[in-house]
């Protein structure tokens, strides 16, 4: 990762970890309505995203393999628009379902 350690505000809020990835990672909390650069274009963030969470880099259809670090991390359960939060509600494991504290899972 590049950077000179000065003024994190000037650093792009979205990280592309690998050129093949179809998701981006939030470098910090990003507010709804914030304007960010997405693949060279200005883009309006539709809903708040927390640090460490993922956004669709481009529109993803159901069953699309999601790539992070250039490696598959699961498949889309439902479609996501460009810039949409990608998480338990629309992404599932191709191995073992993830569970939440209330007993929910990422499975269908």
């Amino acid at each position: 990762m590049s950077g000179n350690g000065s003024g994190s505000d000037q650093l792009p809020p979205l990280l592309l970890l690998h050129p093949d990835d179809n998701i981006l990672v939030a470098r910090r909390d990003i507010a709804a309505g914030e304007r960010v650069e997405l693949d060279g274009e200005s883009f309006l963030i539709p809903a708040a995203v927390e640090l460490g969470h993922k956004l669709a880099r481009r529109a993803l259809t159901a069953e699309t393999r999601v790539l992070k670090y250039g490696a598959p991390i699961g498949s889309m359960k439902t479609a996501a628009a460009r810039g949409e939060h990608v998480h338990l509600h629309n992404l599932r494991s191709d191995y073992i379902p993830s569970t939440t504290r209330d007993g929910g899972t990422d499975a269908h």
Binding site: M1, G3, N4, G5, S6, G7, S8, L11, L15, L17, V25, A26, R27, R28, E50, L51, G52, H53, K54, K68, Y69, A71, P72, I73, G74, V86, H87, L88, L91, R92, S93, D94, Y95, I96, P97, S98, T99, T100, R101, D106
Partner: protein
């Protein structure tokens, strides 16, 4: 970035009869069944000494794995002397453990509560034993120790979406530099490497070892499926991780980029420098429940493999330390670091604010050497000495798991 210069001239160790050296000189008080836990804890607390640590096994039924683990832990190079505390009727083979420790050249004593006359008499006898042991250990001189005599383990706990971007790859850089200096480094939790099996296999020093690595991740996936849960906690999801394989890819980066020299099981000590994968998932049909019920169970297994210290990466913020070996906390998330700085040794989250990965890796590499030289890690200074050991069963590793040079 080239490998930083090691500062190992300042490292000193306590020499042991088996040739290994300890970076601490701990008196371990070990309960051999839960029924002896309270008395053992009282002995540790009332000794008033930070270098008296509580370890033990709670079960009453005998188990080959737990006996071997206790043998390894009680003869770990960081341990100078051991007081065993038995209730008296439990199944643990206390005489074999005592003989094993005595054969290692360490001071060892055994108190059986039913023979000593109960809680108070055992407590008083135990305090006398610990006082005598510490007086003996205080006479022991340290000798110079080099990086190639060091074993470092790594574990992650409370991972989030920052872990795989900051703390884990920074530990990976540190591992690469330790291994260039011929230290042994161990990464683990095959159940948290599900999805990385083919990439890991391609890094094995022989194709046969690569096949063993793939088979052991398959074993882990099967085991966790039967348990009904992957190694994925709700906090992982709250921190932005969605799937087990996503968590795995982040965890995997702790291993750095060195070739994988061997696949070991709990209690196997790496025979020489290099990178080793620790298989923590039991063999055979699932029998005793989840492989490791919490992070400290993994830390104890890394220590049983000879780890002198542990690099613990955390995103959500773990506070644990360990008995026997110091735990260094590398915090992945800059917001968590702000909230919990007193518990964190390294702020790897600053990578998200523009710091270089190599600089954070260098900070960890330097800190490893300072803690090995005697500096207390944060969790150590705060008195964290967590310990947990449960039932498991393993078959010995096969010949392909540790290829010869």
């Amino acid at each position: 970035m080239n490998s930083p210069d090691p500062a190992s001239s300042s490292m000193k160790g306590f020499p042991r009869k088996d040739g290994r050296k300890g970076i601490r000189n701990v008196v371990a008080v070990a309960y051999l069944v839960e029924c002896a836990h309270h008395v053992s804890r009282l002995i540790v607390q009332r000794s008033g000494a930070d270098d008296v640590h509580l370890i033990g096994f709670p079960g009453c039924y005998p188990n080959k794995y737990s006996l071997e683990m206790m043998q390894r832990l009680c003869t770990h190079p960081n341990v100078g002397a051991v007081l065993l505390v038995s209730l008296g009727c439990e199944g643990f083979n206390r005489e074999q453990l005592r003989k094993h420790i005595a054969a290692s050249g360490r001071q060892v004593d055994l108190l059986v509560i039913q023979q000593s006359g109960g809680t108070t008499r055992t407590l008083n006898a135990g305090l006398d034993v610990v006082r005598r042991m510490r007086a003996e250990l205080a006479k022991q001189a340290q000798v110079p120790m080099a990086l190639n005599e060091l074993i470092v383990g790594t574990v992650c706990g409370g991972s989030d979406g920052t872990s795989g971007i900051t703390a884990n790859p920074a530990v990976g850089r540190c591992f690469d530099w330790l291994i260039e200096n011929d230290a042994a480094c161990i990464f683990e939790e095959t159940g948290e490497l599900i999805g990385c099996e083919r990439i890991m296999a391609s890094r094995a020093v022989t194709p046969e070892l690569g096949r063993e690595i793939e088979a052991c991740v398959d074993k882990a996936a099967n085991y966790y499926r039967i348990m009904g849960y992957g190694s994925f906690a709700p906090g992982n999801a709250e921190g932005g991780l969605t799937t087990l394989e996503e968590k795995s890819m982040g965890a995997y980066s702790k291993s750095g980029s060195s070739p994988i020299r061997g696949l070991i099981k709990p209690g196997d000590v790496p025979p020489r420098g290099g990178l080793y994968l620790l298989d923590v998932v039991p063999d055979g049909e699932p029998r005793f429940g989840f492989p490791n019920i919490s992070d400290n169970a993994e830390i104890v297994e890394l220590i049983a493999c000879g780890s002198h210290l542990i690099l613990f990466t955390t995103g959500r913020g773990s506070v644990v330390g360990s008995a026997i070996s110091p735990v260094i906390k590398v915090c992945a998330n800059p917001d968590t670091y702000e909230r919990m700085a007193d518990d964190m040794d390294v702020n790897a989250g600053r990578i998200l604010h523009g710091a270089e990965l190599d600089d954070v890796g260098r900070e960890i590499f330097d800190l490893v050497q300072r803690v090995a030289a005697g500096e207390l890690s944060k969790s150590e200074a705060l008195g964290h000495q967590e310990f947990i050991l449960t039932y498991k069963q393993f078959e010995p590793i096969g010949p392909a798991c540790l290829p010869a040079a």
